[in-house]
């Protein structure tokens, strides 16, 4: 049936049918195999860009997490409650402090005995000339002294690992310990040495040996560490309420001195520029793939001029691009994992996140490429023909 348009010309609808998907796929293969060098180059570019930016994002995330971990290890979520007499004797109930270990949200609570009555100077037979002291502690003290340690309630003394290494003491070694109190009386006994890395919270700055003390009596300081999610402005009130005996003024301060110049970890994490790298990667991959297509846009018109519809024409180039993007992003993801493992000596904990970054980049590039191919395929065929006449 002829149709008359408004300019005095009559036309009939085409007799030709649409391209089947098999023909589209055949043409995709021919397009890619016709220029293998360019296809490989684009895969390489996609892999480098996608993998590189993904690696940068992984590193920045890891850096933020490591910073948070360091702060946590240093005692970011630790409160210090202290109350002493003028002579330094502790006024906080040791039992109340130790009891905080069973409060929901509290990771560990440790009481430190203080005062002349509790001070013990010490020497170790293996290390003559090294003068130390023994500090009695209550509660779950091992994770407090060494954040990487599990709870430990062994008998004996706990020594900083670096100090122990210097004086030749190994974990579990039986050592002769001589202590003397304020009254000057000395006693010698054999105890088991346990090692902890006390550097994180600087419990190793003085040559102190830690030993479990009785929960009866008092302590001068009670350190309470909260789980990160449980730490809030109300934590102080909770500690104060737990240690309040009705007559003692308890000072509660953060264990870790605040560094006003440091960016809080959460802000550092949220403000990292790499959180947009998935978008940047997708855009760069799209441009690398699409710009050559723009210079070859005559091919779109050529397909149209031999009877291919706009959709099959767009599909040929969109599917070709999709395959390049897929292979490139998979390759980029894999080398991103390898490089991270090589530089950090461990696999990234966030492989799933890296996969999502690569996946998001792929989706952005694929979406833009598809839109671009659809636009080129619907270009003005008349204009194309005119330019060639």
């Amino acid at each position: 049936m002829a149709r008359r348009n408004g300019s005095g010309t009559s036309r009939r609808t085409t007799t030709q049918s649409q391209w089947p998907l098999g023909a589209v796929w055949r043409q995709v293969r021919r397009t890619l195999l016709g220029q293998p060098g360019m296809a490989l180059l684009l895969v390489l570019v996609t892999a480098l860009v996608g993998g590189g930016l993904g690696l940068a994002e992984a590193n920045m995330r890891q850096s933020a997490f490591d910073y948070q971990s360091r702060l946590t290890a240093s005692g970011q979520y630790v409160l210090k409650a202290s109350a002493r007499t003028e002579t330094g004797e502790g006024l906080l109930s040791a039992a109340a402090c130790a009891g905080l270990n069973w409060v929901p949200g509290v990771k560990t609570a440790t009481g430190f005995a203080s005062g002349e009555t509790t001070y013990l100077s010490a020497t170790i037979a293996k290390a003559p000339g090294e003068y130390m002291s023994v500090q009695h502690v209550v509660g779950d003290f091992a994770p407090m002294l060494d954040p990487s340690s599990a709870s430990r309630f062994d008998d004996g003394v706990y020594i900083d690992a670096a100090l122990a290494g210097r004086i030749g003491i190994a974990e579990g070694m039986r050592i002769g310990l001589t202590t003397s109190g304020a009254g000057g009386e000395a006693s010698t006994r054999t105890v088991t040495a346990h090692l902890l890395d006390m550097s994180a919270r600087k419990f190793n700055e003085s040559q102190v040996l830690y030993a479990a003390g009785p929960t009866t009596g008092t302590v001068g300081e009670c350190l309470v560490e909260f789980e990160p999610g449980a730490y809030s402005d109300d934590s102080r009130k909770m500690v104060a309420a737990a240690l309040d005996d009705g007559r003692t003024i308890v000072s509660i301060t953060p264990f870790l001195a605040e560094d006003t110049n440091a960016v809080p970890p959460l802000e550092q994490y949220r403000g990292r520029i790499s959180r947009w790298f998935w978008l940047a990667s997708g855009l760069v991959c799209f441009l690398a793939l699409f710009m050559p297509l723009v210079f070859r846009r005559h091919e779109f018109a050529l397909y149209r001029s031999v009877g291919a519809g706009a959709n099959p024409t767009a599909l040929i180039h969109a599917i070709s691009g999709a395959l390049i993007l897929l292979v490139g992003h998979v390759a980029g993801f894999l080398w991103m994992i390898l490089i991270f493992a090589w530089t950090h000596r461990s696999l990234p904990d966030m492989i799933g996140t890296l996969a999502m970054t690569a996946g998001a980049s792929f989706c952005v590039a694929l979406f833009l490429t598809t839109i671009g191919c659809m636009a080129l395929a619907r270009g003005n065929m008349a204009s194309f023909i005119q330019k060639r006449l």
């Binding site: 005095g8 009939r12 391209w19 023909a23 050529l302 060639r388």
Partner: protein
């Protein structure tokens, strides 16, 4: 249905001169017609009007061939450069309502018609300009289109290759394809059965040639005639 132009006028600039003025032309189905004339006479413009690329400023054009069914042949070959001769021709028959074997046979037939059997699997960007033009023509004719519009299809070809190309075009004409060729080459025009001469935007001559033929030795034979009856369906 023939292609009919009635009192067609065309100008690119609304305030400019007429490129074509008062062109009346009827092209019956299955006719092979050459448009000749000096440069600037409007030959390519007329071709674009017939093909629907341009719309007439005045007058009527009746062309019942759908744009998707028309095939164009350009002076400069436009091909998928890194794909083979066979693949470049194959894309023209993909949407034809034939079986797979029919499409394959047709592609091979066109390769034979343009004498490119030895180059069928070679990427077209490695062919000479004349060979590429043969591929373009084979692609244009492969789908047995009802109308072929060619602008200087033999402009870059030597005499022998021109003969090969014109043989393929005439074979298509014999199957019922209407062919309109813009050419400066009077040898090519002589191979067409009708020659329309354009001059100063109008038709100054329209004659039937009877169509030159080639005998078995490849020499041209036949007689030219002036026909009063030119283009009546």
């Amino acid at each position: 249905m023939p292609v009919t132009l009635e009192s067609v006028r065309f100008r690119y600039d609304p305030h400019g001169p007429d490129i074509l003025s008062g062109v009346d032309l009827t092209i019956p189905d299955g006719q092979m017609i050459a448009l000749v004339g000096p440069s600037g006479s409007g030959k390519t413009t007329l071709l674009q009007l017939i093909g629907g690329i341009l719309k007439p400023t005045a007058g009527t054009i009746r062309n019942t061939t759908a744009p998707g069914d028309m095939r164009w042949v350009f002076q400069t070959p436009t091909l998928l450069a890194r794909q083979s001769v066979r693949h470049n021709i194959d894309i023209a028959v993909v949407s034809c309502p034939w079986s797979r074997s029919e499409r394959a046979d047709r592609v091979e037939e066109m390769i034979r018609d343009v004498r490119l059997e030895d180059f069928a699997d070679m990427p077209v960007n490695r062919l000479s300009g004349g060979q590429q033009q043969r591929v373009q023509i084979a692609r244009a004719l492969a789908s047995k289109p009802p109308l072929v519009l060619a602008d200087e299809p033999t402009g870059q070809l030597d005499h022998t290759t021109t003969g090969v190309v014109m043989d393929a075009i005439r074979a298509a004409r014999d199957r019922g394809t209407t062919v309109v060729i813009v050419t400066h080459d009077m040898y090519v025009a002589g191979l067409c059965e009708r020659v329309v001469t354009l001059e100063d935007g109008g038709v100054s001559g329209d004659r039937m040639t009877g169509g030159m033929t080639r005998d078995v030795t490849g020499n041209m034979a036949g007689e030219q005639t002036d026909g009063a009856d030119h283009g009546q369906a």
